[in-house]
C-alpha cells in the first residue's frame, strides 16, 4: 500500500503541513482550556499570531551559542518527523528525537542562568522518566507487527493496538511529559504558568523562542503520528480510527492538563516508571511469552 512515492509525499507533507497542524492543535487546546475554565479565551489562530510576533521581535542573546543549539534542535526534530513519515526505522526516529531533546538542554544550560539551570535539570529528569516508555513503544510495535519499519507497520493486516494496548497506555502516559502538560510540566510549561519563570525557555527571546515553538509543533505532530500508528494498518478505514484516536488523545491531554496539579519530580519519576513497567512491561512479558 505504501510505496516510495507515497513515502516521499508523506515526508514532504510533514515538513510543509506539520507547523500548521501543530499550531492549530495548540490553538484548539487553548480554546478548550479556556472553555473548561469558563472563559472565552483567544482565537483558534492565536499560536500563529504568537509565532509571527516572536519572529518580529528583537533578538536578545545571553550566550550566542543558544541560537545555534536551538536551530540544531529544530533541524533534528524535523529530521525525526521526516524519518517517521518517510517510513524508516521507528527506533531510529526515537534516537533522533532524544538527540534533539539534548540540544534543548544544551541551549538552556549555555546561559548559566539559575532558572534555566533548574529547568534543565528537571528536563533531564523528565527525559529519564519518559525514555524507557518511548523505547518500549518501539519494542511494542516490533513484537506486535514483527517489524520496526514504519511503512511495514502500515502494511500489516492487524493494527498494533490489538496486541500492544499496554505499550499504548505507557506511551500515552508519557505524552503528558512530552507535551509539557500538568501534572508533569515541571521543566517548563505552556500558557501563563510561571513556576520557575519559564524553566528551560527562560532566556529565549524573539526568534529563539519562535524556533523553539516551531520545533515543538513538529515534535507534537510526530508524537501524534506515533499515536495514530498504533491504530493504522493496511485497511484504509484504519486511518479513520487512527484519526479518532489522535483526537481523543489530544482531548485527553487537555483534560488532564486542566484537572491536575503539578507534581514533584520524585513522584513523576516513580509514577512514570511504575506505569511503564506495569503496562508496557507486562504487555512485553505476555507478548514474549506467547511468541
Amino acid at each position: 500500500m505504501m510505496n516510495w512515492e507515497i513515502r516521499v509525499l508523506m515526508t514532504v507533507l510533514f515538513v510543509v503541513l506539520a507547523p500548521f497542524l501543530g499550531g492549530l492543535l495548540d490553538g484548539i487546546d487553548r480554546v478548550i482550556t479556556a472553555r473548561m475554565q469558563g472563559r472565552k479565551g483567544p482565537g483558534i489562530l492565536q499560536p500563529f499570531y504568537d509565532l509571527f510576533k516572536l519572529m518580529n521581535k528583537q533578538l536578545l542573546a545571553v550566550n550566542r551559542i543558544q541560537i545555534l543549539m536551538l536551530l540544531s534542535y529544530l533541524v533534528f526534530v524535523i529530521l525525526t518527523g521526516m524519518l517517521f513519515f518517510g517510513g524508516f526505522d521507528l527506533l531510529l526516529c526515537f534516537f533522533s528525537l532524544s538527540t534533539a531533546a539534548m540540544f534543548v538542554i544544551l541551549a538552556s544550560t549555555s546561559t548559566h542562568s539559575p532558572y534555566n539551570s533548574i529547568g534543565s535539570e528537571r528536563e533531564l529528569m523528565q527525559m529519564m522518566a519518559y525514555e524507557p516508555a518511548v523505547l518500549l513503544t518501539a519494542v511494542g510495535f516490533y513484537l506486535s507487527t514483527g517489524t520496526f519499519k514504519v511503512y511495514e507497520i502500515f502494511n500489516t493486516s492487524v493494527p498494533a493496538i490489538v496486541k500492544a494496548p499496554g505499550f499504548f497506555i505507557g506511551f500515552i502516559f508519557i505524552l503528558t511529559i512530552k507535551f509539557r502538560k500538568s501534572p508533569f510540566d515541571i521543566s517548563t510549561s505552556h500558557h501563563a504558568h510561571q513556576e520557575i519563570v519559564k524553566g528551560v525557555t527562560t532566556e529565549m527571546a524573539g526568534l529563539d523562542y519562535a524556533m523553539y515553538n516551531l520545533a515543538e509543533w513538529y515534535e507534537n505532530i510526530f508524537l501524534y503520528g506515533v499515536v495514530g500508528l498504533f491504530f493504522a494498518c493496511s485497511n484504509p478505514w484504519s486511518m479513520l480510527w487512527a484519526f479518532i484516536a489522535i483526537v481523543c488523545v489530544a482531548f485527553l491531554m487537555t483534560l488532564i492538563d486542566n484537572v491536575s496539579a503539578r507534581v514533584r519530580w520524585e513522584l513523576m519519576l516513580k509514577l512514570t516508571w511504575a506505569i511503564t513497567l506495569l503496562s508496557a512491561g507486562v504487555n512485553l512479558l505476555i507478548l514474549e511469552f506467547v511468541r
Partner: protein, 151 residues
Amino acid sequence: MKNIHKSPWLLHYDGSSCNGCDIEVLACTTPVYDIERFGIVNTGNPMHADIFLITGGINSQNEEVVKQIYSQMPDPKVVIAVGTCACTGGIFKECYNIKGGVDTTIPVDIYVPGCAARPESIIDGVVKGIALFQKKHEDMKKVGKVSNTMN
C-alpha cells in the same frame, strides 16, 4: 503577517505598591475579565514579554531591578504604569526611600490612574498599549532594522 498586536505578552512587576493594584491586575486574568481573549499571556519572563506592566512606585531598592528587567525585554516594547503610585508615587511619594513614579526610572508609554485601578481601566490601558505596540513595530519596520544599540 504584519500585525503583531494580536499577541501582546505581558510582564507584571510589583514595585512599591500596597498590592491593591496587583490584585486588580490578577483579576483581569480571571474568567470575568479574561484578558487572554486579546491574546494576552501573563508571562513572568521579560525575555518573552512585550508589555511591561508596573504597579507601585519606584524605590531605591527596585530601581536597578526595574531598569534591568526593562533592558531584558526585546524591542518593540510598551511600558504601562498602573495605579496612582506607579504614575506619580502616590501616597508614598514623600517617603524617604521613594523616587516617585515609574517614569523617574524608565520611559512610560501609558498611565492608568486609580487607587486601586479598576480592572476595566487596566484593560483599557492595556488595549491602548496594544495599539502602541503595533505602532512601535511599524515604526521599527520603517527604520528598516531592529536597533541593537538601544538602552
